[in-house]
């Protein structure tokens, strides 16, 4: 009975944490699916969100208010990157494939630039950024409040994004651009702006995810790389470009990571992700909810 309770506890905590992973991956999914940029800088944006939340909290700003400041800030950064850098790369590329390759290499450079500027400015020390650490008892499981708040915010944003993409005019333009950019352009969609908005949205979601991560663990300027790995795994598992897929895969990954850490060995979390990824690529390469 104690064992069953422990399993339940791990699963619930994993699921709640997984919601934040899902939010993180949705941002990347937009950038990959619409902008065609395999943005390996994504984790660095998560890092910026997390670390800057702590910096703001030192200035007396509540961590839950931080996304209101950081979101637009990083949205602007992402928007500018797409509107200047990636647009320039695209203009110089001979073919869409060449663009994808070069965009990846540019993102790779950006990863170094962002993480090292952060390390030079802020240092590499672990920052105690916990917030809302009291717990609530649910089904005999003690759940930290920050996990519940994080999951709730991630869920609201996820549903909001889904409705935005499926119901609004701009959302329809985004989906059209993702599907067939030249045709969307002919139909009067300003695809250059759409791409920049999508990249900005991806950065914004990464920033919010970073804030939510900083509520429950210590953060430092080196967490970007691991978050990129996690986001890439989730995006692939969920299917490139699918919002619900990313959330489902995020929750699965969250539960799996807690179970592996709790029952086996935390070193093995990444290897287990990779085993899952390998099986998926063999069985269903388009991901859980991806289109064929």
């Amino acid at each position: 009975m104690a064992e069953a309770e422990r399993l339940l506890g791990l699963s619930i905590i994993g699921m709640l944490g997984g919601g934040v992973y899902g939010l993180m991956a949705v941002g990347l999914s937009l950038q990959v699916g619409v902008c065609r940029v395999l943005n390996i800088t994504h984790g660095e944006f998560v890092m910026l969100g997390a670390v800057l939340t702590f910096v703001l909290s030192q200035l007396g700003i509540n961590p839950l208010v931080a996304p209101v400041i950081l979101g637009p800030l990083l949205f602007g950064l992402g928007f500018l990157l797409q509107a200047t850098l990636f647009r320039a790369v695209k203009a110089r590329a001979r073919s869409p494939e060449a663009f994808e390759g070069n965009a990846l290499l540019v993102a790779f450079g950006l990863m170094y630039i962002i993480s090292n500027i952060a390390q030079i400015r802020i240092g590499v020390a672990s920052l105690p950024s916990h917030y809302l650490t009291s717990s609530v008892s649910f089904l005999g499981v003690n759940i930290p409040l920050n996990l519940i708040v994080g999951f709730a915010i991630a869920a609201v944003l996820g549903i909001g994004l889904y409705l935005f993409l499926t119901r609004s005019r701009l959302g329809r333009a985004i989906r059209a651009t993702a599907e067939d950019q030249p045709t969307a352009e002919l139909m009067g969609v300003n695809t250059k702006t759409i791409l920049a908005v999508c990249f900005g949205l991806g950065a914004l979601l990464a920033a919010v995810a970073g804030t939510l991560i900083s509520l429950r663990t210590d953060v430092n300027t080196g967490i970007g790389f691991n978050n990129t790995v996690i986001a890439l795994v989730i995006v692939t598992l969920g299917g490139l470009g699918s919002v619900p897929g990313s959330f489902i895969a995020g929750i699965i990954i969250g539960i799996v990571s807690m179970l592996v850490a709790g029952l086996w060995e935390s070193i093995l979390i990444v290897p287990v992700y990779y085993a899952m990824l390998m099986v998926l690529l063999l069985v269903r390469p388009s991901g859980i909810l991806g289109k064929k």
């Binding site: 850098l85 450079g109 630039i113 390390q119 093995l268």
Partner: protein, 329 residues
């Protein structure tokens, strides 16, 4: 006879001369260089090997592998396990074969799909393999790290140099063979290549595995100069990312590019990283972005560009001079 003519009509003997000078330099270096500089040169050659073998596959096909370190680390570990049992050349061959098998397995899983899945998969691969090895070391065999037997730096330099020569020759001949043509046509337009009757998956998997052989063998040679290794050292992302920057910086379109880039970044890695870590890495990122945007054929691509510019200027000056003379008469 002017400078431009010299560089355009005698290009081949010039590059042969360049290689002969390079070979002579490396072979005589231990005589006057000292022990530490010799080990620096060995590291530079290792990065050149990694950059050349990375370009062999990723440069030609456009499938970006982010995991040279996975194979280098495999080589380091093969050396750790076998150093007391087998002679050095045999270990190199075994490491090459194991890397080949590993790459074959990875290729079979990911290379039949679109390039993006391959890149995603290789991004965290080093962490994946490193963590598995870490787990086995810590929990199964309960051992922390490996100490390497000391080896003479001069010997290591010569072995690394021999391996570099083999790698460059292999890259050269593969590039000129039908296989190389097939790879470049995949890089140009994969769908068209497939319609031409090229078995693209087979070519990709095979050449990816072949490029891994040299990385694995290089791991064996670099291991003794590390003197101690654990999963964190052997499977470090640095070994993955530096060769990529080196190849892109040098230029992926030809063989000289990755060689020059690899040697240069190997040197910077050994000299600047320790003291200037963050600024060095920041420069790394900036170089990457600038090169992709403004130097699509890398630093080596600058040479013919400058040559043409210079030649044009000289020709213009000449013509101007001649026209003046005509004017006078």
């Amino acid at each position: 006879m002017n400078i431009t003519r010299l560089f355009t009509t005698h290009r081949k003997p010039l590059s042969v001369g360049f290689f002969i000078l390079l070979i002579a330099f490396v072979l005589t270096f231990p005589l006057y260089g000292g022990i530490y500089p010799t080990s620096v040169l060995t590291t530079m050659l290792m990065y050149a090997i990694l950059a050349v073998s990375w370009t062999m596959f990723s440069g030609a096909t456009g499938y970006m592998s982010l995991a040279p370190a996975a194979f280098l680390g495999t080589g380091i570990y093969v050396m750790a396990l076998l150093q007391n049992y087998l002679p050095f050349p045999v270990i190199m061959v075994i490491a090459g074969l194991i890397s080949f098998a590993l790459a074959l397995l990875l290729g079979l899983v990911t290379l039949r799909l679109k390039g993006i899945y391959f890149t995603i998969f290789t991004f965290g691969l080093v962490v994946f393999i490193g963590n598995v090895v870490n787990y086995v070391e810590a929990k199964v065999i309960e051992r922390h790290g490996w100490v390497f037997n000391a080896m003479d730096e001069t010997t290591l330099l010569y072995i690394m140099f021999g391996l570099a020569v083999v790698t460059v020759l292999a890259a050269y001949f593969i590039g000129r063979s039908r296989l190389g043509l097939a790879m470049r046509s995949i890089g140009g337009n994969e769908e068209a290549a497939e319609h031409m009757g090229i078995d693209t998956t087979r070519i990709k998997v095979l050449t990816f595995a072949m490029s891994a052989v040299f990385m694995g063998a290089a791991g064996v040679v670099v291991a003794p100069s590390l003197s101690y290794s654990n999963p964190g050292i052997a499977f470090s992302v640095v070994y993955s990312f530096v060769p990529i920057v080196a190849a892109v910086f040098g230029g992926m379109g030809n063989l000289q590019g990755p060689i020059v880039g690899g040697l240069l970044f190997g040197y910077l890695e050994k000299t600047l990283r320790a003291t200037w870590l963050n600024y060095y890495n920041l420069g790394f990122g900036i170089i990457m972005v600038v090169v992709i945007l403004f130097l699509p054929s890398g630093i080596v691509g600058l040479v013919p560009m400058l040559r043409d510019k210079l030649g044009g200027m000289i020709a213009k000056l000449r013509k101007g001079g001649e026209a003046e003379q005509h004017g006078n008469t």
